[in-house]
């Protein structure tokens, strides 16, 4: 069991976050228990990835290996991908279809519900050896997650204390999933990015609307997204989820030019794309948003940039390493031209994405430079200190403070008089 954690928060509103929290292995160990295996709903996969009975896919919740299956009766199950016997991975492939899942080491056998159903030589051979007669297959199986399916997005929780999924997602969480999943989806493929940084730096990044148009200069240079567009940030009541959003064509070149004038390293109109197919937006959502990035605590992002659609899952690997697992999708009724368009726009997102590649570098240079710090803190004051509120603009870091407030609550490390 990890020991009790003591954090000296400089302030009670999370406008200062000690760098130590990105580096301390004991913090990481406690997070795996209290955040990822705590009372939260973790994103597992899309239902569309498991269309047939017998389909399975491996995933990760925190650093726990998990397998998600569709049983013969069509129900979806998730359990720890670790044999009840000696702890070997049961499933070794990333995906497949099987009638039952068998550990290779001693051939212990599981059904698609994740129940242990067979042990070779359980009764011994010719009356000799074998397992004790009272060994109970039913209680020996791997740890299960409770699974909930919301409009084709699969979530899982290890905790019996987790609130119902719809309540957990809150009004905008459910609304945004319904928006993205408003008709059957087709998975176009995956990407993986391994970043040498603490996973929370990415959780912050996804809530950091301030950096988007500054670090990702492509947004501004080519007018994909600028802070001058109408948009803002929304959070759920507990400030654990967040959404950065913007509405297409709601600023002018003149407004943007004035706003970004004199900002070092940012330039508008310096250049134009020779082929602007990447910037084309085919309106497909009634709300008019061309950029929507709802983040669901603790491990999920849904993202729309124009017509590219994806989920991202944060997979912590170690205190200083995590994977970004991205699933790019379109809709089943997309014609060939629309699929081609979505794939061209996939140039914007992912490890090589014009508006996403920088995040890997930004996180690694924080991890490198803050490693020796035992007392110093990061500063989160853009958008103000104190209470956590939704904003009709995006020059803010408030959602990052929201993340830390819920993280602290789960971890049991809130400062005295903490805001929530």
């Amino acid at each position: 069991m990890p020991q009790a954690l003591k954090i000296d928060w400089p302030r009670n509103d999370y406008s200062r976050v000690p760098f130590r929290l990105y580096h301390d292995p004991s913090v990481y160990a406690l997070e795996m228990e209290r955040v990822f295996r705590g009372p939260v709903w973790n994103y597992l996969a899309l239902e569309a990835e498991l269309p047939n009975p017998g389909d399975y896919r491996t995933t990760w919740i925190g650093d726990s290996p998990v397998v998600v299956t569709r049983a013969q009766d069509g129900t979806i199950h998730a359990f720890v991908n670790r044999c009840a016997h000696r702890g070997a991975q049961i499933v070794r492939r990333t995906h497949g279809n099987a009638a039952e899942l068998v550990c290779i080491y001693h051939r212990w056998c599981y059904n698609l519900q994740g129940e242990l159903i067979g042990i070779p030589f359980r009764r011994g051979l010719k009356g000799e050896g074998g397992m004790p007669a009272d060994f109970d297959l039913k209680t020996a199986g791997p740890r299960h997650l409770t699974v909930a399916n919301f409009h084709g997005v699969l979530f899982g929780t290890f905790s019996a204390d987790t609130e119902p999924l719809e309540q957990y997602l809150g009004e905008f969480g459910t609304g945004m999933i319904e928006r993205f999943m408003h008709k059957p989806v087709r998975v176009l493929g995956y990407s993986r990015q391994m970043v040498n940084g603490n996973w929370k730096l990415y959780a912050e990044n996804l809530r950091d609307t301030y950096h988007a148009s500054l670090l990702h200069e492509f947004f501004v240079t080519y007018g994909v997204d600028r802070a001058t567009q109408r948009g803002g940030v929304k959070m759920d009541a507990r400030h654990r989820h967040n959404m950065n959003h913007a509405y297409a064509a709601t600023d002018t070149q003149e407004e943007a030019r004035a706003a970004y004038a004199g900002q070092a390293g940012v330039a508008l109109d310096r250049m134009r794309l020779r082929d602007a197919s990447l910037l084309k937006y085919v309106p497909e959502f009634a709300d008019g948003m061309n950029l929507a990035a709802p983040t669901i605590f603790p491990n999920m992002l849904l993202i729309q940039i124009n017509n590219t659609l994806a989920t991202r899952q944060i997979r912590p690997k170690a205190v200083d390493s995590f994977e970004i697992f991205q699933t790019v999708f379109g809709y089943v009724d997309d014609d060939e031209e629309m699929t081609r368009h979505r794939l061209l726009l996939a140039n914007l997102v992912g490890p090589a994405g014009f508006v996403s590649m920088e995040d890997g570098e930004a996180i690694e240079i924080i991890q490198k430079a803050t490693r020796p710090e035992t007392t110093a803190s990061a500063v989160f004051e853009m958008g103000g200190r104190g209470p956590l509120t939704d904003l009709a603009h995006r020059v803010t870091e408030t959602p990052i403070r929201g993340f830390w407030s819920y993280w602290s609550e789960l971890m049991g490390v809130e400062p005295e008089g903490a805001i929530r």
């Binding site: 990015q193 240079t221 920088e358």
Partner: protein, 161 residues
């Protein structure tokens, strides 16, 4: 020993093309790397994980030469990425006659990255599948698809594979 039907001058031209490909990328001559492509061309980086599942997702897809130029311009002027040197090691190509006068070329690649303090890492390993035009002893890329075994991209992918 050449495969049957592959003239010696074609094999030589393709070997030269691949050598130039590696060298121009490794010397950060990205604009000259673009010159190795035909006017009508495409460049794509995909992962073996997707290919083996029949999934079309891309990491990079430049569907024409203008898009390749846009990528390079963006690296030069817009994007931020890990500062590094590249080193490509390209294996011996397998060459087959393709359709419409092009040669189908397959070759393994290894791509190492070295940071500015001299620390090297294996960044990507995989296979090039190229369609190559050879005229008057000069080879040009009509299509190059890099299928990366290394689907887990370390840090990020910016400069071309």
């Amino acid at each position: 020993m050449s495969a049957p039907g592959v003239p010696r001058e074609v094999r030589d031209a393709i070997a030269d093309l691949l050598a130039e490909y590696a060298l121009r990328l490794d010397e950060d001559r990205l604009e000259e790397w673009i010159d190795l492509f035909d006017a009508d061309c495409s460049y794509k980086v995909v992962t073996r994980e997707n290919v083996e599942q029949g999934l079309p997702n891309i990491l990079i897809w430049c569907a024409n030469k203008d898009m390749i130029r846009d990528r390079v311009d963006s690296y030069r002027n817009v994007n931020e990425y890990n500062l590094h040197w590249d080193r490509h090691v390209i294996g011996a190509p397998r060459i087959r006659a393709g359709d419409s006068g092009a040669w189908q070329v397959e070759a393994s690649y290894s791509l190492f990255q070295t940071d500015l303090e001299g620390v090297s890492r294996l960044f990507s390993v995989g296979r090039y599948q190229a369609s190559v035009l050879v005229t008057d002893g000069l080879a040009r890329l009509r299509e190059l698809v890099a299928v990366a075994d290394t689907g887990s991209i370390p840090t990020l992918l910016a400069t071309p594979v």
